[in-house]
Symmetry: C2
Subunit: 758 residues, 2 copies
């Protein structure tokens, strides 16, 4: 490892103490004089025509300051991409799920706003609804969107090589179907926003978001106002996990209520709203057919996939594409066929959720590999090693891989977990399972869709200030990115102050998602820091009357190499710059994804231009209670190739968090619907892991030092939950021979499996 002072150090999260002590200020903590409270009337029915909305009683309620229905708002459909736009901020003629936005009220307090909602009378014509995507595609099924036939929002079909020839070559062919359930993001902070709107229509928003700059653009487009009139900033964020990338209807309504009333307006989701009316992880049904040689070489793989989109697109089409890319790119398979459909149903809408389709793909593929290993009587790790991706290859679906540590992840996790010993000396009701993964570690598709900027300036007192559009949503980017700047400037990271998540004062940044921040924002930060270092050395050279090449920067000083007495402190340089030389020391860095190459096929996503790919392996050891079916995770090893760990402590935090979320999805988390209604919209009925359920998690950091990443780093955030569920499910099978193909692997299902075995 290179000789770094700050990079690679286990530095605690910058915000840790502030959050633990409760002094961190979240959006909800902000109140402004005269501030009104907004509430949203939501559809209580899954599918209906709106004949009429009567607000006459509600407007008369004392304390009500404004009511908006679709007549009062721009009827501009949106999605994360204009191509897929299908959602209005308020339903005009139709509602499509229980939770759909119908009207918004601003009142002097939340209670009055809620009372007003009850006084709004909606005249419905209920319509037949459809909740199962397989039913939704049938002829004659209720149609959600007039213009969308068979409720199919998007299809994606790809064939690489020849699937027919592939299967012809195979010694063994296995087929099976795997299903995954809806998961809620469960961030402890619900969506919250405050908007003010000046009489000249200048909008200022404080908002819990993962993507302030895109939010500004989406608000502008959806409200038909100029983006330059909107100022978005994000206070501390209490978790997001993909749920706070979209424009939320509440945010747009908040702006319009502020505009209508001339007062600040706050809208804060209740926990129930968070469960029923924000995004969920897309449920999937994935039919797989794999062809393998006796030696374990996978020669063909085929997937037939249905993603349950819920009522609106949000990220759906991109999640489908990612499902394909991740499924198809992992392992060196020449012949691949993928057929996916994204299907509307009258349910809560799917969206970005940690992993972005990849955990669903991983679950199907990795359980299938376990079944193949069994069939071939091959060690599951050996099977994966046999087919593992290698550095600098181009895959069958034309994806360029640069650094790749998949094999190292597999072997290191095997060693750490004592896999071989445990396999050799199997204990009853105990099992061990493995799964592998691939994901992007440098954000999404190329130039224009994957940008991050940074500005680093030296203050007059020789300290530094870093401005970035990228924001810390809890994952620790503020710590990691200041470490990079600190390494280059030769100072402690704590001494670099920060402005982030503010659309006015920072350069555009796509936001915090896609495991992109370390790579993309990190690239911008290092560029800015190198630029600033050059300026400081130039200033030092001028002041010391020395050659710039003879200078060094260390311990907050610029000095002539070999003549430590000829030196200037950073404070002296800062003061001279601001108070004498009329030249502030400031430098900018900007990362923009690589140009989308002509090889990229936007229909099939072949040649997907990922700036970096990350790999990993999870290895779970479980014990199953034969009397009840209850699964206990005893040990967990997670090995991740992340290029370089800028801060191993925070990487471990990410990995542990991801594993916990993954174990939850594997064993219990399940957003359950009955006739389109979420029946567990609270933390009592929606089961998550508690601290008691969390096993010992061993994180192994495989540092492949990516050629393009800052200090060689790639991403980790989303990756850390991708292979968790199949590792658990494979371990359950290893323990008791019950094969779960339909998540979650609840105690009840395992018990049923045991019962069937007899």
């Amino acid at each position: 490892m290179a000789n770094f002072s700050i990079v690679g150090k286990r530095i605690p999260h910058r915000d840790a103490v502030e959050k633990v002590k409760g002094s961190a200020i979240f959006t909800s903590d902000i109140k402004l004089s005269g501030m009104l409270h907004g509430k949203i009337l939501r559809s209580p029915v899954p599918h209906a025509k709106i004949r009429n909305i009567d607000i006459s009683k509600a407007v008369k309620l004392k304390g009500v300051k404004a009511i908006l229905t679709s007549k009062d708002v721009p009827l501009i459909k949106y999605s994360i991409s204009p191509t897929w736009a299908d959602k209005l901020i308020l339903a005009d003629t139709k509602v499509r799920y229980i939770g759909d936005e119908i009207a918004a009220v601003a009142a002097v307090d939340e209670e009055i706003a809620e009372e007003a909602l009850e006084l709004i009378e909606v005249d419905w014509e209920e319509l037949p609804a459809v909740f199962d995507p397989l039913e939704a595609v049938q002829p004659g099924a209720p149609r959600l969107h007039d213009e969308v036939e068979n409720n199919i929002s998007k299809t994606m079909s790809m064939e690489c090589g020849s699937i027919e020839e592939g299967f012809a070559e195979a010694d063994v062919i296995l087929e099976d179907t795997f299903q995954t359930q809806a998961q809620s993001h469960c961030s402890l902070e619900t969506h919250c926003c405050i908007a003010t709107c000046s009489p000249t229509d200048d909008v200022k928003m404080w908002v819990s978001t993962q993507a302030p700059h895109p939010l500004r653009q989406r608000l502008a487009a959806t409200l038909n106002i100029d983006a330059a009139k909107i100022h978005v900033s994000a206070p501390f964020i209490g978790g997001a996990f993909g749920n706070k990338i979209d424009l939320e209807p509440a945010q747009a309504l908040c702006v319009l209520l502020a505009k209508k009333t001339g007062k600040p307006v706050k809208i804060e989701h209740s926990r129930k709203e968070q469960f029923i009316a924000t995004r969920m992880r897309h449920p999937t049904r994935c039919k797989l057919k794999f062809g393998v040689k006796r030696d374990g070489t996978i020669v063909a793989k085929q997937a037939e996939v249905v993603l349950d989109n819920g009522a609106y697109n949000s990220h759906g089409p991109a999640v489908l594409a990612y499902h394909n890319v991740m499924f198809s790119t992992l392992y060196r398979v020449k012949n691949i066929k993928y057929d996916g459909r994204l299907v509307y149903t009258n349910k809560n809408w799917g969206g970005a959720c940690r992993g972005y389709g990849d955990p669903q793909a991983s679950f199907a593929q990795e359980v299938m590999l376990d079944m193949i290993a069994e069939e071939l009587k091959m060690d599951p790790i050996d099977l994966r090693l046999k087919n593992a991706n290698i550095p600098n290859e181009v895959t069958a679906n034309a994806v360029q891989i640069t650094s790749c540590g998949l094999k190292e992840c597999l072997t290191q996790a095997r060693d750490k977990s004592e896999w071989t010993t445990k396999k050799a000396h199997k204990q009853k009701y105990r099992g061990i399972g493995v799964a592998a993964m691939i994901y992007t570690g440098g954000g999404s598709i190329g130039s224009g869709f994957n940008y991050s900027g940074a500005t680093l300036q030296m203050n007059a007192d020789g300290t530094f200030h870093l401005l970035m559009g990228a924001l810390d949503i809890g994952q620790g980017s503020n710590t990691v990115l200041t470490q990079m700047a600190a390494e280059i400037m030769g100072v402690d990271p704590e001494s670099i102050s920060l402005t982030t998540a503010d659309t006015d004062t920072t350069f555009p940044c796509m936001g915090t998602f896609g495991s992109r921040v370390t790579f993309c924002a990190g690239s911008a930060v290092t560029e800015a820091a190198h630029g600033l270092k050059k300026q400081i050395l130039e200033t030092g050279a001028e002041m010391l009357e020395a050659n710039i090449d003879d200078l060094e920067m260390k311990e907050k000083k610029v000095f002539v190499k070999g003549s430590p007495d000829r030196s200037l402190s950073y404070a002296e340089i800062g003061a001279a710059s601001f108070y004498k030389k009329k030249k502030p020391l400031v430098a900018h860095g900007y990362y923009n994804g690589p140009e989308v190459p002509p090889e990229f096929n936007p229909v099939t996503y072949e040649g997907y231009p990922s700036p970096a790919l990350v790999f990993g392996t999870h290895l779970a050891e479980v014990e199953v209670d034969p009397a009840t079916g209850k699964v206990e995770v005893l040990n967990f090893v997670a090995a991740h190739d992340l290029g370089r760990a800028i801060n191993p402590l925070l990487v471990e935090g990410q990995i542990e968090g991801g594993a916990v979320q993954g174990i939850g999805w594997a064993l219990m988390e399940n957003l359950q619907f009955e006739n389109g209604e979420v029946v567990n919209p609270n933390f009592h009925d929606y089961k998550m892991l508690t601290i008691k359920d969390v096993p010992k998690i061993s994180s192994l950091l495989v540092e492949t030092v990516d050629p393009n990443g800052p200090f060689g780093a790639k991403g980790i955030g989303e990756c850390a939950m991708v292979p968790t569920a199949p590792a658990i499910v494979n371990a359950i099978y290893d323990a008791v021979g019950v094969r779960i193909k339909d998540l979650p692997a609840t105690t009840e299902k395992v018990f049923q499996g045991l019962k069937t075995q007899g």
Copy 2:
């Protein structure tokens, strides 16, 4: 006049509608979860030793979260300059005026905090006090500060030429003494601040201040913390007039209370606190002796000045220096002697107040000139024209004048006011008076003490964002500075959004005072704009494959001259820059006052290096009610040389505001003390002009186009009230022969004068 599109236009104040409609957010409007309210225990006696402070009862009051006394705070004295430091944020052993800070309480609401103040028991030893500066300098007078003999904080003695030879040359010598009273700033918003302090001691403040960056530095020095750990930002400011430049003890206490409690704390001054415990305009006593030739040439002028400093220095020493510089620089007089003393008394402390000593100097000198004109039987305007400064001269006190329109101000005001006609056809009880002025129009003393930075960036959609440390405290700088940027970028000023008054995201700026913002921040803005224009043209040249010299920028487009079809919109350039070229378009500008020249004498202030000087003339017409002595101002003409009016509408606003404040000071405003106690600390007893009292004010803008100012502009803000009072007082004399030498010229005094005449 040059052919400008935006500069010189009467564009309304950017914030006008927002403020009028009440939607502007001031510091007081901000509330945070768990926020506590701070209150300050102030001395009820003018001079005493503190034997003991007993907080035992107060701490027990339910709802009280923290109490600070001098034992809990750094005992670091401060002032605007470390040289003059004499004030603690909490008195340790002694209080020196009624209002001095003794303790601070944070509680869950203001009422409880106030109740706690009453429970704090202070054991006093009262000391004899002194309220009159002439008594304070006598041997044996009570001494305020142990280390300061005779209570003289500072003296300033200067002789230019030979005062003796000057008087020897004179045909006529006049002597008299003039006195001015304390004035309160009376901003409608009182001091208000909110502080949060993280467990890692990162401080964030929202504060009503004129100088966020210096405030950060002063807080750091006074609290002995690192400036980089403090983030100051200023929401809308509801007026300041010099009273919000200093560090206010409340601000430092707010930080310490936040630190101690771990909660956000707000401290908002009551109106009474604003009157008794923030700064005031220094009362002065000015004994003048002038020697003139029969033709009106002033050959010698001598001043003996006492400034009543109140209990602490604040800006006092600098105000004394300015009193000298402005008195001595105005008019071409070869022989000058100045002797000034700044004297402590047990009263509210003097500080910066619009004009910074100059209105006091102007009052004495300009009334004296009126007396000389009478003595010489010379027209008062002719007398001033005879002695007026001229462009590019170096004065007897070695001040370099660049642009100078004093003569134009005098003659244009004379014409506008119909002075000659009115003098020729005098109506009974009506009179007309004149006074002239000089002031700095580009801020204070040179490099390192007069800096302002600006960053201008093009957004991805081709709009612009301007970041500046300078802030709009109501005077309109946001409008004026965006006009300058808009002129250069070829867009509407409204389309340029702004970040100001934020220490993290903007370059250091000395702040908004000293009539410096248009000149200094304007210089930074124009530099940034020219830099950005170059970048845009370079980008355009590259994209259009054209030579940069062949390109023009107009109507939000870059195009090839003569080929308007070969063009790119700003939006296209912005998008390419951010989404294709990886090169944000951003440029910086930084103004720093000229290096202090070796000729400058810091003891006498000879050679004061002002970046620009401004001149002006006020001409008042009054009618005096002979029965009551009541003075009505009928007409008012104000001519100001401000280099160039970037926005004549806002300049007129400044002039009108200045004149109104000046008329108030001339006729009624008076912070009155009895035994050190302010007896009129409210808007009922402290008389100000109301809208009914405001005469028609005609503003004449004399545009001398300063060689150093941005677009030729100089300052106006403070200047506009400098010569108002003497113009009024001279008009009263012209009307009824009553000569007021002791401000304010109340109805009572004028009536007494009339009675004395009989």
